[in-house]
Symmetry: C2
């Protein structure tokens, strides 16, 4: 059984400071841990510690026998270590994966997130990027930490496939400017339904309340908008807007092929 | 100041049974209450009781002076009555509005929700419907109650504009079949990007885990799918899928005009 000191050290990973000091983060819940273990080694996902209930251990022996550091714990102890209210399965401590090198790719889409604050929104956006095959996601340094437990929970397995970069956005976008179209989601831009065929480029999404920051907005060469038809709702949630825009961009880039 | 008995009677409206016995529900928080009061009378929204802090009362006298039954309360009392953790503004008890008559409209879209369980999803779907000007939303009887406080919070002001009907879906759809196209969101249908121009019809969205029920699925004549490009994410959240599909349907019905 797991010790109190070990519980405490895993619980500390709820805080960003401890995650970056130790270079690891927590994945919780039976479904997500199983998805992680089935990828183990395949994509550079390294499981440092696995903590699980006896039931989980018995049901999935073929999976966890590959992990080196394994403990049993009760469901109560699992809940103490993480942020799930109830966890009858398992919890894994995972080394922070290194994203693939960031490249300027004019034939695919790169999603750029300028100060997304809400962890649920960031997680949902990663899931959307994964669905639409957008492998490059870049966050500003003031976007919520991608290893925040609520981001991990909302992203589901997508975090293990779409690994965001953190960059200075004005610096990055000024390097890329002229090499690919830089689109940005705004409330008064060109309708995304009227865009020409585009093979790829950058889509910038801004903060939940304040939109795209002025330094980044200055580098956008194509402001785009999701047309509304009601005149009622004043805005769409940023994750919803990202999903709708990515669907449109995929429709356009596919018709280019 | 409000009495303990009044606090208790408003708190009871957190439960569906009491809401339907009394024919009213709760709207919480400064922003939403202000939106409601500015509509008061305009669309049949009837504010039965208004409970507010002194600060709110002083700042918005021109608005609340139209309400007949008004109380002052502390922020702590407002939090006791509702589901917000903190509410320094106001709370309104509102008569359940009657939706406009439900009609078979082949030149606009009607959204049909088959057992949506999560109140956050239903609220988000109503906000999306409002954005895309879809005024008719029909819920199955086993969809979460639209006056659930979490639905009201997630829908924001859209609930006051998009008022869902509750109907037996197989009965309704069999009446409408043949008069308009009945689309349903599934995982293996026709790509929504390949749909022909359609002026309107019905879009059915199913349950978060089980999709569309078999009795409803039998009445769908056009199963549609949002194409994925990653091969990674196994599904999109139902509210996200509704937003993406509505955007596509609007694009198609506008190009029909």
């Amino acid at each position: 059984m797991i010790s109190k000191a070990q519980i405490k050290s895993i619980r500390a990973l709820q805080q960003k400071k401890h995650r970056y000091e130790q270079g690891c983060f927590v994945v919780e819940g039976e479904k997500l841990v199983l998805e992680l273990l089935s990828l183990h080694g395949g994509r550079g996902v390294q499981c440092l510690k696995l903590v699980m209930t006896e039931d989980f251990a018995q049901a999935h022996e073929n999976l966890w026998s590959r992990c080196e550091s394994v403990w049993l714990a009760t469901a109560e102890q699992l809940a103490q270590m993480g942020q799930l209210q109830s966890n009858r399965g398992a919890l894994a401590v995972v080394a922070m994966p290194k994203p693939d090198p960031l490249i300027c790719q004019p034939d695919n889409w790169t999603l750029v997130l300028d100060c997304i604050n809400d962890p649920g929104n960031l997680g949902t956006i990663l899931r959307v990027a994964d669905w639409f095959g957008i492998e490059q996601v870049v966050c500003s340094a003031n976007t919520v930490d991608v290893f925040n437990p609520k981001v991990v929970a909302a992203a589901k397995g997508s975090l293990l496939r779409v690994m965001p970069h953190v960059r200075d956005l004005p610096e990055l976008l000024s390097q890329w400017q002229g090499q690919l179209p830089i689109l940005g989601a705004v409330l008064d831009g060109e309708s995304v339904h009227d865009l020409p065929v585009l093979q790829g480029g950058v889509l910038v999404m801004g903060n939940e309340s304040h939109g795209i920051s002025s330094a980044v907005a200055a580098l956008i060469d194509r402001p785009v908008t999701i047309p509304s038809y009601g005149g009622g709702a004043e805005s769409l949630n940023v994750a919803m807007a990202t999903g709708i825009l990515c669907d449109n961009l995929r429709r356009l880039s596919c018709s280019a092929k």
